[in-house]
Amino acid sequence: MAVNSEQTADRKAMGKIINRYPPERRYILAIMQDLQKQFNYLPKDALQMTAEYVNTPMSVVYSMATFYKAFSLVPKGRVVLKTCDGTACHIKGSNIIIDEIYKTLGIRPGETTADGDFSLETVNCLGACALAPVLVANDRVYPKVTPASLREIIEENRGRRDESTERE
């Protein structure tokens, strides 16, 4: 029962996002970006609804959804940690940060914690090489990360998630 009502609520939310755009093929990307933002991933139902709405084959929509790194087909964590692994950050020890994240959260790049709090991704450059090694948690940028400051960052962001759920 509970699952069903949750599903209908989700479908309603998806419909709302999709209907914001005219039913034309060229809005597929924009719709998917909004869906990704809302759900932290692209649910299968949402892709199917999008395909029907813009009258485009599902295979085409799926092809686009898997092409772009910005989209995920599996749920992502509420906080996405992006560690920069570009040249400057790499030399300044980004691999130590990645190892440290694995020690504290048990996730490697591309993975999500079981409780759905955190995902880890590596990016190739954030254009802030002077701040190396850089870590971005959702939209917050953390410069010159060390294993010690990393633990603080993780705790700070865990709290942040709690704030946001309380507000809802």
């Binding site: 892709l47 295979s59 085409v60 898997t66």
Partner: protein, 246 residues
């Protein structure tokens, strides 16, 4: 419009691609993803040629380059041979498991490579995707990107729009798409189809959804007969024979 292909002077139409003009002139340009009915896709890059337009020389994909002026084309310079050898080497490295690729690999005298997956056959020419589009099913597409790119149905599940026609497997140059056929069933892309039987010879020849699809496409202006291609041909020949020329 006069164009020169490998020294041969030929008359080309405005907007026609170099490859089309070359085929007409009897000049062979190697390619892996071109089929006349589909037009140029510009996927495989095997058909690269050197175009000389005035003083300017450049390399273009002949299957998508439209002729708009009097150009001079070279189809087999050492530079182009090197490009083709590179393409074949890389494709072989990715998908060595077909006679098609093995033959090309030897023909182009490619250097030794360590293959990625010895069982892989797909060379990503996209002909299957195009064929599926042309049939009107749109069941398969290329998914992911870069080295992970492959042809698949959405979510790697049975696609509701697949009619099991097998056009994708038929057109595949390397036999990368598996079609299982047994006991009146045909399995392709994670989906199993009932087959229809020929009224005359009793052989299975097509899937049931294909019959429906053809009917729809032809606005039902199709005979209700269940005939396999060879029996249909025989029957048609018999019908035509009745018209004797006096």
């Amino acid at each position: 419009m006069k164009v020169t292909i490998d020294g041969k002077k030929i008359e080309a139409k405005l907007g026609e691609t170099i490859l089309e003009a070359a085929v007409r002139a009897g000049v062979e340009i190697p390619n892996l993803c071109y089929i006349e009915a589909f037009g140029g896709q510009g996927v495989c890059r095997m058909c690269m040629v050197e175009v000389k337009d005035g003083e300017q020389k450049r390399l273009v994909a002949s299957c998508t380059y439209p002729i708009t002026g009097e150009i001079e084309v070279q189809t087999n310079t050492p530079e182009l041979q090197e490009i083709r050898r590179n393409i074949i080497t890389l494709l072989y490295r990715r998908a060595p498991n077909s006679d098609f690729m093995k033959k090309l690999y030897q023909e182009y005298v490619c250097p030794a490579v360590e293959v990625v997956d010895p069982a892989e056959k797909c060379i990503m020419c996209r002909l299957c995707v195009k064929a599926c589009e042309k049939v009107g099913a749109f069941a398969i597409s290329t998914i992911m990107r870069g080295t992970e790119k492959r042809v698949a149905t959405p979510f790697d599940e049975a696609s509701p729009s697949c009619i099991g026609c097998g056009a994708c497997a038929e057109i595949c140059p390397t036999g990368a798409i598996t079609v299982k056929e047994e006991n009146g069933k045909q399995e392709i892309w994670h989906k199993s189809f009932e087959m229809s039987r020929c009224e005359i010879c009793g052989n299975y020849y097509s899937t049931l959804p294909v019959k429906e699809h053809v009917k729809e496409q032809l606005d039902n202006e199709v005979s209700g007969e269940n005939l396999c291609p060879s029996c249909r041909r025989k029957k048609l020949a018999g019908d035509l024979a009745k018209f004797s020329i006096k």
